[in-house]
């Protein structure tokens, strides 16, 4: 169904709920009355003609008062149906001074964290929300940073907030630890902080766990320890200036965040990408995917006590880093994509080197399999652990290998094609329940490992078929007209989406990065009751969550 058909369907069912159909936007949106939001959401989810079971993104935009128009907060909901392959954007306008909306947690559980983020950063209150508190900023933070008129404080707990003040006050000679918050004890169960510094949490993520002996009663993820405010910074530094920041959103898959950001701006400004540049993008991206999946599978094995496989992958990753350095000059934070192409060409020497490396690498995958994939202890630690069934996976917004591990064959590269991926021969990998049931932790591990092989297939074809030509379209100054766009790419941690609001200036009015890890974290609290503490490590590792991707 097209967006206007969906709107007609909604109008027919709930005539007084729809305020306006905004068809002029790149992603047409239906504006609904705040009071009827939940009803409309429930209808779009359950109606047999729409069946939008996947809430892709929930976020807010702060609109300052302009002339006659009063200020408002817009809440934006991106819905998608895997079944019908269509989507729609819902939008509600809230009063800027007292923004209150009904929660849609009851419709899609994944909305929980998205709404908490809107509460934290924009100050929107959600009635009926089960756990409405700050998610990114410390609990005693004052103000809502993503508001347009936000002023950052001079100090927080005596800490200066700019470098000049640090230098003026002098470097710290003696460290003290006095502000450390203590967890409130809960009677009857042991409460522990697992993190934010913990070797198995893959970065700075905290888990408040309540245990009964070795068995978890529940594990509550506590994030925001690496919230760097990249979305706010993007409003200051402009479109091209944001490119290096997208590297740091997902440092294991920087090529994908680069690509997503480039796609968003190209769509806003209608920029064509030359064919050779598309090949360069695919080659660089797939190399990056291999490197990222290596860390994911290697770190999972390391978390479960097998250190050797990790070292093998680190060794191989160094070689990918060498190639990446030839391609774009950086080992980790690539900053490779430009609007309308890539920053530099991949020369023939590098392509030959990639081919040689692939010849060397394919036997290495077998070696890795021999090392760990068939290991009895490893299999028992993962098989039948933390099983996610497909319905839950969709409701909690899992994407990428986590979704495919549950048996749902959905890959943005194939199903919502971008770049030139539909020209290559490769397969979408799904979990098959190799050693247990479909959707267990081993399936997610297995998906990643087999996806590396698919990336190798794509790389071989791309290296074979890369055409001659330009790698970058000449672009004028990036200054898109007022519009809104949402683009997605398939990153190593699944759908990596970029929601950009432009207002006719050379800086984005609002940008929101939809990342796979952020939604993957929401399912942990749901899955944790009854798991052993050690299984929690397997669950986190198999979801491949990455702190900066959660916090941004």
């Amino acid at each position: 169904m097209t967006e206007s058909e969906i709107c007609d369907r909604l109008k027919a069912a709930l005539p007084d709920a729809v305020e306006e159909f905004e068809s002029q936007l790149l992603d047409p949106a239906i504006r609904v009355k705040p009071a009827r939001l939940v009803e409309a959401c429930r209808f779009l989810r359950d109606d047999p003609s729409t069946r939008m079971h996947y809430l892709r993104l929930v976020t807010g935009v702060d609109r300052l008062p302009a002339g006659e128009t009063p200020g408002r907060i817009e809440m934006v909901y991106h819905l998608w149906s895997y079944e019908k392959r269509h989507g729609i954007v819902l939008r509600v306008h809230l009063d800027r001074d007292n923004p209150v909306a009904d929660t849609v947690c009851g419709v899609w559980p994944v909305a929980n964290w998205g709404e908490r983020e809107a509460f934290d950063l924009l100050g929107v209150t959600f009635t009926g929300h089960p756990d409405l508190k700050r998610i990114m900023m410390p609990v005693d933070w004052v103000g809502h940073p993503l508001r347009k008129d936000y002023q950052r404080p001079d100090r927080y707990h005596g800490l200066p907030t700019n470098r000049t003040a640090v230098l003026e006050q002098g470097r710290v000679q003696v460290a003290t630890a006095e502000h450390v918050a203590k967890a409130e004890p809960v009677s009857g169960y042991m409460q522990l902080n697992m993190g934010p510094h913990h070797p198995a949490t893959h970065g700075v993520i905290n888990f408040l766990i309540e245990t009964d002996g070795e068995v978890l009663r529940r594990a509550i993820p506590d994030v925001g320890y690496l919230h760097r405010g990249i979305e706010k910074i993007s409003e200051m530094v402009g479109y091209l200036g944001t490119m290096p920041y997208t590297d740091r959103v997902d440092y294991l898959g920087a090529m994908f965040t680069n690509h997503g950001w480039a796609l968003a701006v190209e769509k806003l400004c209608n920029i064509e990408v030359p064919r050779r540049a598309e090949f360069c993008r695919v080659i660089a991206s797939e190399l990056n995917r291999i490197a990222s999946h290596q860390i994911a599978t290697g770190a999972l094995a390391m978390d479960l006590g097998a250190f050797t496989p990790f070292l093998h992958w680190i060794r191989e990753r160094e070689k990918i880093n060498d190639i990446m350095e030839r391609i774009c000059g950086a080992r980790l934070t690539y900053n490779y994509m430009r609007f309308g192409g890539v920053s530099r060409d991949i020369d023939q020497v590098t392509i030959d080197e990639i081919r040689r490396w692939l010849d060397h690498y394919e036997p290495m995958m077998l070696e890795f399999d021999r090392l760990i994939s068939g290991n009895e202890i490893f299999i028992r630690r993962l098989a039948n652990v933390a099983v996610i069934d497909p319905d839950d996976a969709i409701a909690y917004g899992l994407v990428g290998p986590n979704l495919r591990g549950s048996g749902l064959a959905w890959d943005v590269r194939r199903d919502e094609p971008y770049s030139i991926y539909n020209e290559f021969e490769w397969d979408v990998i799904t979990g098959t329940g190799v050693h247990g049931v479909v959707g267990d932790a081993f399936d997610r591990y297995d998906c990643r490992l087999r996806e590396i092989r698919e990336s190798v297939r794509i790389l071989r074809q791309a290296c074979e078929r890369i055409p001659e030509g330009e790698v970058r379209t000449k672009t004028a100054r990036i200054k898109p007209a007022a519009n809104e766009v949402y683009t997605r790419v398939e990153g190593p941690r699944g759908e990596c989406g970029f929601f950009v609001v432009s207002d006719g200036t050379d800086k984005p009015y609002r940008s929101r990065f939809r990342t796979g890890s952020f939604t993957a974290m929401t399912i942990i609290e749901h899955l944790s009751p009854g798991l052993m503490i050690a299984d929690l490590v397997a669950l986190i590792g198999s979801l491949d969550v990455l702190a900066p991707e959660i916090d941004r």
Binding site: M136, M137, P138, W141, P145, Y150, R152, Y156, H157, L159, P160, T161, R163, A165, V166, Q169, R171, V172, Q173, V174, A175, T176, A177, E178, H179, V180, A181, P196, H197, P199, G203, V204, G224, Y225, L226, H227, R228, G229, I230, K232, I233, M236, V237, P244, Y245, D247, R248, Y251, L252, I295, L311, I314, R315, R317, E318, R331, L332, T333, A547, P548
Partner: protein, 175 residues
Amino acid sequence: MTENLSGLEVSRQCPTGGDAAPFVVTTRVDDLVNWFRESSIWYLLFATACCGIELMQTGGPRTDLDRFGAVFRSTPRQSDLLIVAGTITYKMADRVRLLYAQMASPKYVLAMGSCANCGGLFQPSYSVVPGVDAIVPVDIYLPGCPPRPEALNEAILRLQDLMKGEHWASRRKHQ
């Protein structure tokens, strides 16, 4: 007869006179203690952001920090060196203080990468501490975004130089 053994000033004397073994090795307490310390830098695996990946690569087979006796530890109680590898936010700041307080003396701090040095790319942000030296005392600043493994390797060697100059009884390293 004196010679230089692994940077340690060592003089060998035979108590019975002449050149025959057994030798008695005499040196200064400082040199001996520092030799032990610099050859067993156990660093805390404290990877907060991007630099953490380069920290892992540095511990990996190519750069191989183990050559210098530097191995990673998961707990601060066993660590001599806090490598702050990545951005520190206000929410994280107190945890860094706590980690530092848990380490055994003498302890050292290496600020790895621009974020830890001064906030780096994230200076305009509302949530990032502009330099970890506002929280804990820093011994070595390592520039880069992120620094290459070779650079981190060099920083560890510089730290060894720093350790060589320590006096064994000094409580330079606070609490």
